[in-house]
Symmetry: C2
Subunit: 369 residues, 2 copies
């Protein structure tokens, strides 16, 4: 069946009857459940419905889980998924029913002025999983059985064929953490020969190590005191590991780089402490690339930055634009960011997945509906 | 006379007897005087003594003059100068007695790790006019008759010959404002085809317009409500002038650039208001290059920056590294940043120079000792 025929079939005749599904709902602090929810359905002609093959838990999901961000009412959660297209709207042309697709952690048209500038996270028509789209219609979150995907042509990236199951973890990282780590590296200006320090040993920090080496960094220091993560960092190409933090960590880093610090620091945590460490570690004239969702009240210290000419660049990573670049490398096995998943659970055990990440028993948990 | 012979002569035999000189001293709020002070003398073998041919008043000098920065005790002031080398220490090899030289607004060795990285304002052995050097010996400020120049080989850039007097204003801008405007543009990543907004119509802002066009910017908007400065901005290549400020200015700018804003915003003021305007004017994924000395208590709003992927880069401009690049263009007349000087006074009238800038009767005042 060609893409065209599949497209025509599915636009006119959904493949199965919709009868409700299960999806993850955050009810309050440390209260995460798999609830029965309405099945998604095509709402706009640019929509698709995707059956989730794999989703996962993000470090940023823990802010709500831990109560750092209060949960005023139960809400659907999860923003990373790969899956199979089950249905498409009549205006969808670039993905077809049956396609295996990667969805970034947001939806976007991939054609507006901001998307064309490479900032699809600021898409003029885009939005976020688990909240309403621009038409006011609810969009499912990723930790569930199925999702409605707005702007499917812009949002979804299909693989050439349905990939081997062993590739699913690495493909799933392209939905967020691999692209986010790459964005930190790009934002910090990492290039051939750069010296780099990565603050944060979560999945994003580890992917930032991999991304920095891929971009040609000569030396990449992973800041980590966690043995398993140190091992992944080394596997990803970290040349050094530093366990010290705060002033001791900064002193160690300065000493490693001519007494002045590295060219680039990748901030992959989002706390006031980690950003302070990043800014004070960089050499004069260096750049901090940051992708950790800012948490806590601290703003950026302009006088320190001004005096040292350390720049700060980054933000919510426009990973949609990076997926096509990584895809051939992942499919060939040359790039294996899926190593960040050290636990896989069925979706039924989503509560255990959150607990394992919260207690740092797992770096990143893959969920199979 | 070759450079070598001049060097040997001067190292052993100063050309004139030192008998004291006059230099500008800030005594307190709006109390600026030309006082009798000790004549400079070679202190280290790497020193030179330079007779000031022209100096000027910087916007940042006004913070002290206006009492925004309190003056606890009388202090020498001024950091921009061109002059003639009168004496050199025995270890000085790259400048000679009789050379016409440009001094950046700080001194530096131009060889340390930070200088090699292009961040000579963070020179490991450098310092600031009007304060002590690393040996604890006082260094004259620029608004005087003569200065001792530490690290003369690194700090001073000689012209091939003593230039025509008409070139002095443009050469003097290489000591600070032209290089600082250029640093704002470089820090914001201005390149061929960039869209640029410049916040601030002081001498630095105007030079930033010139620098942005020189780097190939396709469109450069000067934010200014001051007719004389608007005219200089247009002469320097501004394609548009916007008089509105704050929210109205931002709305106007967004409208001019596809509703999203320009690629690059150059912040050349240093107040909380100007930085806020700069950050909120840039398009998502854009970059703010800032060189205005931060004044007032506001830090940088990390959530706004994170959400929009607007980066902030810049700081105290390492202009020493830019002088050689500009010099041929200034000497040939191709680049004429000296237009920012709209008042020239003898050093005796330094108080009037400060008053004229304080009251915005002059954009920038050139002083002749």
């Amino acid at each position: 069946m060609t893409s065209d025929t599949r497209s025509e079939v599915s636009a006119s005749a959904p493949l199965r009857r919709l009868t409700g599904m299960r999806a993850t709902v955050l009810h309050g602090e440390r209260d995460i459940r798999l609830d029965d929810v309405p099945d998604p359905a095509i709402s706009a002609p640019t929509d698709a419905v995707v059956r989730v093959v794999a989703a996962c838990v993000c470090g940023s999901d823990l802010w709500g889980y831990r109560g750092v961000t209060p949960t005023r009412e139960p809400r659907r959660i999860g923003h990373e998924l790969v899956g199979i297209v089950e249905e498409i709207g009549s205006a969808v042309a670039r993905v077809s029913v049956g396609d295996f697709v990667i969805a970034p952690f947001y939806f976007c048209d991939n054609t507006c002025a901001n998307c064309r500038n490479g900032v699809s996270t600021s898409c003029l028509h885009g939005g976020w999983w688990g909240s309403d789209d621009r038409d006011g219609v609810f969009v499912d979150a990723a930790q569930g059985e199925r999702v409605r995907v707005p702007l499917a042509d812009g949002t979804l990236v299909p693989t050439p064929e349905v990939p081997d199951d062993a590739l699913v973890p690495s493909l799933l990282t392209l939905a967020d953490v691999m692209g986010t780590g790459h964005h930190a590296a790009l934002s910090a200006g990492v290039r051939e020969g750069s010296t780099v320090v990565v603050v944060g040993d979560g999945a994003v920090g580890l992917c930032a190590v991999l991304a920095a080496r891929r971009l040609g960094a000569a030396r990449v220091v992973a800041m980590s005191r966690h043995e398993t993560r140190q091992a992944i960092a080394r596997e990803f190409g970290a040349t050094d590991v530093v366990a010290e933090r705060g002033d001791a960590g900064i002193a160690r880093i300065k000493e490693m780089f001519d007494g002045i610090g590295p060219d680039c620091v990748l901030e992959c945590v989002g706390t006031a402490e980690s950003m302070d460490q990043a800014i004070r570690s960089a050499r004069p004239g260096g750049m901090v690339g940051y992708v950790g969702v800012p948490n806590g009240g601290a703003e950026l210290p302009i006088r320190t930055l001004f005096g040292t000419n350390v720049g700060v660049n980054g933000g919510v990573a426009p990973v949609r634009g990076y997926i096509e670049e990584f895809l051939p490398e992942v499919l060939s096995g040359a790039l294996n960011p899926g190593l960040v998943f050290d636990l896989e659970l069925p979706l039924e055990q989503v509560a255990e997945a959150y607990a394992a990440m919260d207690e740092r028993r797992a770096t990143k948990v893959l969920l199979r509906p």
